[in-house]
């Protein structure tokens, strides 16, 4: 397990297709819950990249990107049902009755299948992952204020783990 700046990446799937599990740690959960209840929204994006290690005399070419997957989520408070809702970029919504359940679901993405093509199977592969978290998701043109760091957006560095 690797851990860097509040981000944990775990790989699993021995024998089968590999899958990734990414968990982001945010040190101000109470502030986030309060912000959501006040009517603001929050979003987080998890990005996974699968690379093939390329041993080449031309190191500037870098390794080959095999696949990339991004999962984006938005969290908000549903006043009608009195629940927290996490909406994924594919449109699926899930409601959570309390903050703890919300945080667990919002900051964790599991079973992200890293399905390398047959051409690279058996070669040296590794995964890079990072999270970009916006405690307050703003609508344009208010997004301008994010340029001056007012929303406290966080982008973790890329963390790497080799595929077994």
């Amino acid at each position: 397990m690797l851990c860097a700046q509040g981000l944990e990446l775990t790989l699993s799937g021995a024998g089968g297709p590999p899958s990734a599990h990414l968990s982001f740690h945010w040190n101000q959960p109470a502030t986030l819950i309060q912000s959501l209840k006040s009517g603001l929204e929050s979003s987080i994006g998890f990005t996974f990249r699968l690379y093939e290690l390329r041993r080449t005399p031309w190191p500037f070419r870098g390794d080959r990107l095999v696949m990339q997957k991004t999962v984006t989520r938005t969290a908000y408070w549903d006043p009608l049902d009195g629940t927290f809702v996490v909406e994924q970029d594919d449109g699926t919504r899930r409601a959570y009755p309390d903050g703890a359940a919300l945080l667990d679901a919002f900051f964790t993405v599991s079973q992200v299948l890293l399905s390398p093509t047959s051409s690279v199977r058996g070669r040296s592969l590794y995964t890079m992952a990072r999270a970009q978290f916006e405690p307050v998701r703003l609508m344009p043109p208010l997004t301008l204020v994010s340029m001056v760091g007012a929303t406290g957006s966080v982008a973790t560095p890329w963390i790497r783990k080799d595929l077994p």
């Binding site: 009517g39 908000y76 009608l80 998701r137 344009p140 301008l144 994010s146 929303t151």
Partner: protein, 591 residues
């Protein structure tokens, strides 16, 4: 010091650099405008580091433009202080462009900022927020009220009777149920096995089993609230399920209200900062345009003024005697016709000047030949007469031959010596070599000249106290010594009964050149006004034994040093000769 040609080349290179910088910025602006929607939308998605880099890049261009503009303005101001050609006009053009830019951008900026402020204040006022929250509260209250109503019905005392009657007479009982609670949209009874016994109402609320009975169910077009209760009727347990149907619009509208509230809350929290960032963005984009206006005005004015400055420079060079100078211009330059005319005029002027010089030279030599012939002829007469007289006495065998011989031969020798002296001085005047300047302490030079004359005439007081000992000038020492010797000779000869000879030296500035002005004054008989204009002409003299070449030599030496010499006299109480010698560099003399 940078010459006009260097300045022009530097300005040309600077202009190209400025134009390249402006084009780069305009391309950047074009890209931002073309992708402005994407830019603003994806701004939040950018990582903080990327946003920082973008901010630095966005700041770098205005800073670079500001630096270039500042440099150009400072150059312009310095040029104006140094009296550079047309710098004042360029400054006026610059101020005009700045004024136009402010007049065009200022009202737009004020209008834009005022509009944003008033729009945010009006569209997102606190009353809007209260309305949104109130609407959401009402929607939530409405749903809760329906839920509570449903619960009250299911917990009410009438339910057992309705359940008992519902199996036998479902339609009549359904009417009674709706009469008791109009909010119920469907009523359904399941037996203990979970099999439906009876159903009435909206079919969308119909269940396949009692296990799905509690809570809320959102469907595509409807939201269903359900409440169930198991009761015993006639010794049998049945489960009654009552449903209330809410329009899906409620859910959709509450979500829309929530999203509006999200925007409102965002504005409420970040509106003030947003305004500041907006103003900063405005200046981030408008300031470079303002600076570009300044740079464009500088470049344009440079292009307009440059040919005029070249003409001014060329005129000055021609005035200084450089007739070989020509102004170069671009073939398509609007002022090329003027420049061509100027160059043609200079060529014609040069030709005329050469012809004039040639004619002057011929005239001068003719005049000198005539004067020389005259000066040589003058002593020839007494020589001839003396020789004829001696010869006659000798031929006549005159007794007083011995008495006549000596004065006659003496007269011949004197005249021949005068002729020799005159020819020597003429030779000196004609053969004065090109000056070889070197650093000379003027005071020492004058003292050296004066020491000769102090011995010759003790009646004349020579005062050199007004010549600084530290004053150093670049002159040909021997030539200047000869010039001062001639002046001192004239001064002493003008004071046969004694007097004072004074020399002083000062630094004076004429136009852009600094001169060392040396004044040699005597208290002699003075020079009549009528003679003042002729005293420097060769062979002009008022003295009995003068050659008339002394002051001509002085003038020639001073002219060869690119200086000037003139005399002032009141005609009776003395004469002052002034010599101006140019100082090549400001650091040349040390006074």
């Amino acid at each position: 010091m940078r010459g006009p040609a260097d300045r022009a080349a530097f300005a040309e290179n600077t202009s190209r650099g400025v134009i390249a910088l402006i084009l780069l910025y305009l391309v950047l602006i074009g890209i931002i405008i073309a992708f402005s929607r994407t830019f603003i939308t994806t701004l939040a998605g950018a990582s903080p580091s990327a946003a920082t880099i973008a901010l630095v890049v966005a700041l770098a261009v205005p800073i670079a433009l500001f630096a270039v503009a500042l440099f150009q303005i400072i150059r312009l101001l310095r040029g104006r202080s140094a009296g550079q050609a047309a710098a004042g006009l360029r400054l006026q053009l610059l101020l005009f462009f700045i004024l136009i830019a402010i007049l065009s951008a200022g009202p737009q900026a004020m209008l834009g900022i005022t509009f944003v402020n008033s729009a945010m204040g009006t569209w997102f006022s606190s009353s809007i927020g209260s309305s949104l929250r109130g609407a959401i509260t009402m929607a939530v209250g409405y749903q809760r009220e329906r839920q509570d109503s449903l619960s009250a019905f299911m917990d009410g005392p009438l339910l057992p009777r309705f359940v008992a009657d519902f199996t036998d007479a479902p339609l009549d009982t359904w009417r009674e149920i709706q009469g008791a609670n109009s909010g119920i949209g469907a009523f359904q009874i399941f037996n203990v096995n979970g099999t439906e016994v009876a159903f009435q109402g909206d079919v969308r609320a119909r269940l396949t089993g009692p296990q799905e009975t509690n809570g809320k169910e959102d469907r595509e077009n409807v939201t269903i609230l359900r409440q169930s209760r198991t009761i015993s009727v006639g010794g049998k347990h049945v489960t009654a399920v009552a449903s209330a149907l809410l329009s899906a619009d409620l859910r959709v509208n509450v979500r829309a209200l929530s999203q509006s509230l999200t925007v409102f809350t965002s504005l409420d929290q970040y509106g003030q900062l947003f305004r500041r960032v907006l103003v900063a963005f405005f200046f981030l984009f408008s300031l470079p345009l303002f600076l570009i206006t300044i740079l464009v005005s500088l470049v344009l004015s440079q292009r307009i003024i440059s040919p005029i400055a070249h003409l001014e420079d060329a005129t000055r060079r021609v005035a200084e005697g450089d007739f070989g100078f020509r102004v170069l211009t671009r073939p398509r330059d609007e002022l090329s016709a003027l420049v061509d005319s100027f160059n043609g005029m200079i060529s014609e002027l040069d030709r005329s000047r050469r012809k004039l010089l040639q004619a002057e030279k011929i005239t001068a030599w003719q005049e000198i030949a005539q004067r020389l012939a005259h000066e040589i002829r003058n002593p020839l007469t007494p020589i001839k007469l003396s020789a004829q007289r001696v010869l006659k006495k000798y031929d006549d065998g005159a007794a007083d031959f011995d008495k006549v011989l000596r004065p006659a031969v003496g007269s011949i020798i004197t005249e021949v010596e005068n002729l020799e002296r005159m020819l020597r001085e003429f030779s000196e005047l004609a053969r004065l070599p090109v000056p070889k300047p070197a650093a000379v302490r003027l005071r020492e030079l004058l003292v050296e000249v004066a020491s000769v004359y102090k011995n010759l005439s003790s009646a004349v007081l020579i005062d050199l106290s007004d010549v600084s000992e530290s004053l150093v000038i670049n002159v040909d020492r021997d030539q200047l010594k000869r010039a001062f010797a001639n002046l001192f000779t004239n001064a002493i000869q003008a004071m046969p009964s004694g007097g004072s000879l004074t020399a002083r030296a000062d630094l004076v500035k004429k136009s852009h050149t600094v001169f060392c002005r040396i004044a040699v004054s005597d208290t002699g008989t003075g020079i009549p006004d009528a003679d003042l204009d002729s005293i420097f002409d060769p062979y002009f003299t008022t003295k009995k034994n003068g050659t008339g070449l002394g002051l001509a030599i002085v003038q020639r030496i001073v002219f060869d040093h690119k200086g000037n010499v003139w005399a002032e006299s009141d005609g009776s109480t003395g004469t002052t000769f002034f010599i101006d010698l140019p100082i090549e560099t400001p650091g040349g003399p040390t006074a």
